[in-house]
Each structure stands twice: as C-alpha cells, then as structure tokens.
C-alpha cells in the first residue's frame, strides 16, 4: 500500500501505517501516533489512571478533526 497523502501530492511512498479512523495508508512522515490514557475503576471505586497507554495512529486530517482544529 502507498501513502495516500503522498500520492495526492504526486509522490509515491510506501505506507507503514493505517489511520484508525478513515483507514488511509500513511508513510512514516504522515502518520501521527497518539497515546490515550487508560483509566480503571469508577463508581463505586475511585477511578485510577493506569501506567499503560493505548497507542493509535491517525492521518493528519483525522488528527485535526479529532482535536477540533
């Protein structure tokens, strides 16, 4: 698979990741890796943030949309 963003810009780059939201293939330059906090507990126990985080890969477009930018 090729990077969708690069193809749109007229380049051909191998994809190394897929956006978890829209599914587009992404090269290393266009893949945005985020880490989500993971919580456990909640009523009737206090919620605690666990050390482990959940990684996710996003394309620039979905990243901007999810951040509300």
């Amino acid at each position: 698979m090729k990077c969708y963003v690069c193809v749109k810009e007229g380049r051909s780059t191998d994809a190394v990741a897929v956006c978890i939201v829209c599914g587009m293939g992404l090269c290393k330059d266009h893949a945005i890796r985020e880490e989500l906090d993971l919580w456990e507990g909640g009523y009737p126990f206090p919620a605690k943030k666990v050390k482990a985080k959940i990684p996710r890969i996003l394309c620039p477009e979905c990243y901007q949309a999810l951040k509300g930018k």
Binding site: W39, G41, G42, Y43, P44, F45, P46, A47
Partner: protein, 251 residues
C-alpha cells in the same frame, strides 16, 4: 494534598449534599404539615398532606441528589456517601481498611455539615419542628422491627449497587439513576416504619446538630441506624457474590 485526602473531601461533600437535600426534604415536609390533623398516631406529619405521596416526594429528593452525587463524584471517590456501603465493600475485600476508616469519618462529618447548613438555611423551626429530618422508629414500631426494616432496605440498596456498579458485566452509565431510584422506592415504602435512613451518616448528621441546637434528643435510637444498615449491606454483598460468583450462571 494526598489522593486519599481529596477522596475524603469528595465523600464529605457528597454526604453533606445527601443530608441537606434528602433529610432536608423530610424536615420541610414536617414544617409544612405543622398543625395539620394527622388523624392517626402513626402519622407524625409526613403523610398528612398527600398520604404516601409525601414519602414519595421525600424519596425523590433523595433519588435526585444521590444520582447527582454518584454522577459527579463517582469517579473521584467512588461516591459511597454511606458507611454501610463502605463497610460492605471492605468486608468483601474490595476496599482497603485504612481507606474505609477515613471514608467513614468523612461521611459522618459530611452528614453533620449538611445538617448544620440546612439549619442555617431554614432556621430554627427546621430544628424544633422538622428535627432536621432525623430518623426514628414511628409510633408502635419496636426497636427490633426498626432494625429489620433498615436492614432490609439497605440490603436492597447494596444488592443493586453490586449488580449495577460493582459487577464488571453490568451495563455502564445507569448506576446513579438506578441506585437513586432504588433509595427513593425504599423510602416511599418503609419511610413510615423507621425513617428509611439506610445510612448511618444520614442519621448521625441530624442527630448531632439537633443536640447542638436544642432539637429532639434521639440518640437512644442511633444503634438502629448502625446495626440495621451495616447488617443489610454486608449480607447483600456476600449474597450477590454467592449468586454471581465463580461457577454461577452469570460468571
């Protein structure tokens, strides 16, 4: 500030809100009904205006504030706002002993602060006529009957907490609503037996502030609201674990 201190402040605030709005609704009902012919000695004023509807209204005041506290404080402290719930979670090894002790102290102090704030808001008539919504067995109800009614009511409350919140397989997001409505329903039915406290801190607050401000002295009944709720909650927690634990149909 330590994590435990913050959680204790949340328990204190939550219990204060419970007592202010819940017990406060009982006090206001007595103040409104003052001078009304109740017709029967079993009716001390709550019920003089709308029969069981008076208890339903008080139950709904509790239901709404319990739901509000669970949804707002549930992730912070767990929103037990009830020593019986804390003891039951401790007894089933779900809650550490040190935290449980601190929570219970915070809940008792919160109950007293809630009552004090209600007295400050509503005036001395709330103390002298409404007794700040303090619970006691109704005329004709014995000590043992009152303990039984409190134990059964708290059994239902804790059973619902276990099924809707403690059990990880329970649907998410309904705990505050269902637990609040459960308390409201229990109060509607058993309020006119022993006040349907279901909660040692909810009774402790009005008792303490009534004593401080010259209101009714009801301390002789306080053991009812320690023994009944704690027995009911602990039995419910173990009962649920037995029914839904390893090897059961839902495990």
């Amino acid at each position: 500030m330590s994590d435990l201190a913050k959680r204790c402040i949340a328990e204190l605030a939550g219990t204060a809100l419970l007592v202010y709005f819940g017990a406060g609704a009982a006090a206001i009902t007595l103040m409104i009904a003052r001078g009304t012919d109740t017709g029967t000695p079993f009716n001390i004023g709550i019920g003089a205006l709308g029969g069981l509807g008076d208890w339903f209204a008080i139950g709904m005041a509790f239901a709404i504030v319990i739901a509000a506290v669970i949804y707002s404080m549930g992730r912070v402290s767990g929103a037990h706002i009830n020593p019986a719930v804390t003891v039951a979670l401790f007894a089933t090894k779900r809650f550490p002993a040190g935290d449980a002790g601190a929570y219970i102290v915070a809940q008792l102090v919160g109950g007293a602060i809630g009552s004090l704030l209600f007295a400050a808001s509503a005036g001395m008539e709330a103390v002298m006529v409404g007794g700040l919504g303090a619970t006691a067995p109704f005329p004709g109800i014995g000590y043992g009957q009152a303990i039984l009614a409190e134990a059964i009511g708290t059994f239902v409350l804790m059973l619902v907490i276990m099924g809707i919140a403690v059990d990880k397989k329970a649907p998410q997001g309904f705990a505050g609503l269902i637990i609040g409505l459960t308390v409201g329903g229990v109060i509607t039915t058993t309020g006119n037996i022993a006040g349907a406290s279901l909660n040692t801190a909810r009774t402790f607050g009005p008792y303490l502030v009534d004593s401080l401000l010259g209101g009714p002295d009801l301390w002789v009944y306080f053991p009812i609201y320690i023994i009944g709720p704690i027995i009911g909650a602990v039995i419910a927690a173990f009962f649920y674990d037995y029914l839904a634990g390893e090897g059961s149909a839902t495990a």
